[in-house]
């Protein structure tokens, strides 16, 4: 655990991003998938790309969490 106050501030700022980055990763994944489905391929591939990119978004969210949890400097 960090012992001095500067490190605590730095870690607080970093870990305060966790929640938002999880939510926004999922939404951006869904957004990209929806755009590809409905604008690029005109709904021919609907709903598969949305679902696939939802998976990518969830994976990105969990990768962020995993990176945060497996940091060496804690």
């Amino acid at each position: 655990m960090a012992d001095n106050r500067k490190d605590t501030l730095r870690l607080l700022a970093q870990f305060s991003t966790v929640g938002m980055s999880v939510a926004f990763s999922i939404f951006i994944g869904v957004g990209i998938g929806y755009y590809l489905d409905h604008k690029v391929f005109d709904g021919r591939t609907s709903p598969w790309l949305t679902l696939i990119f939802l998976g990518f978004g969830v994976a990105a969210a969990f990768k962020n969490l995993y990176d945060m949890a497996s940091r060496k400097d804690l």
């Binding site: 501030l9 700022a13 991003t17 980055s21 926004f24 951006i28 990209i32 990119f53 994976a59 990105a60």
Partner: protein, 240 residues
């Protein structure tokens, strides 16, 4: 509108300018005189004129004004040097110090009646964030050349088709989280203050929120500075 009295808007309106009543106007002129633009210019003027006035002549033995600004600038540079190293801090100092001072003053100015925070508009914070985002990737390409793409590919070769979209999505999530955090905090502060002034301003109801507003303003400016420093230093170091 949560701010009934914005004195720059009132002055411009009496000069015959088409000040919009919503957040953003329709025509170019209405966009230029909308409140968040005019108050951004006010903050810029403040940041240009006040140091000029307080610094006076630079001398070897600093006076009061010079002492203050030396503490501010020295503190900012030390903060950056702690997090991204001396050379990186010296290279990125002008941009990041500008962001820090601008966001700090822009957050604080909304605490006074008759003023509003330009950062309570998503367009302003999004502009700041996009500058940070593109600078991050320009720095990465400058430091690593074409090898910068290794930052996006992950450690294992056969996982590349999975890792590339994941990394891209998490980089885009940075734009949203950085801009919406600042916007949301300041917007909440402004709206809450406006409502409390309207409901019970005569009984000092907004006073605790004003104290909290000072705290939130400083913390959000620091967090924006710190996160952009972290993104820059992550782009400058080697991929692992």
């Amino acid at each position: 509108m949560e701010h009934p009295i914005l004195f720059i808007s009132l002055i411009l309106q009496s000069l015959g300018m088409p000040v919009p009543h919503g957040p953003v106007g329709d025509t170019l002129l209405a966009k230029l005189v909308s409140p968040h633009m005019t108050y951004t210019w006010l903050v810029m003027l403040f940041l240009i004129i006040v140091p000029k006035l307080t610094l006076g002549k630079m001398s070897l033995v600093p006076g009061k004004g010079q002492n203050f600004w030396e503490v501010v600038i020295g503190g900012l540079e030390g903060f950056m040097a702690d997090n991204m190293g001396k050379e990186g801090a010296r290279m990125m100092f002008p941009m990041l110090a500008t962001f820090a001072l601008y966001i700090l003053v822009a957050n604080m100015i909304g605490l006074m009646p008759g003023f509003m925070s330009p950062t309570s508009n998503l367009n302003i914070t999004l502009a700041c964030t996009l500058i940070v985002f593109f600078t991050t990737h320009i720095l990465g390409i400058k430091f690593h050349g074409i090898g910068y793409i290794k930052h996006f590919l992950g450690p294992i070769p056969w996982l590349i088709p999975l890792m590339l979209p994941i990394e891209l999505i998490s980089h885009f999530a940075r734009i949203l989280s950085l801009s919406i955090r600042l916007f949301g905090n300041i917007m909440a502060k402004e709206t809450l203050l406006g409502i409390l002034f309207m409901l019970a301003g005569a009984y000092f109801a907004p006073l605790p929120i004003l104290c909290l507003g000072v705290f939130v303003s400083i913390v959000q400016a620091l967090v924006f500075l710190l996160l952009s420093i972290l993104y820059f230093s992550a782009a400058m170091e080697h991929a692992h």
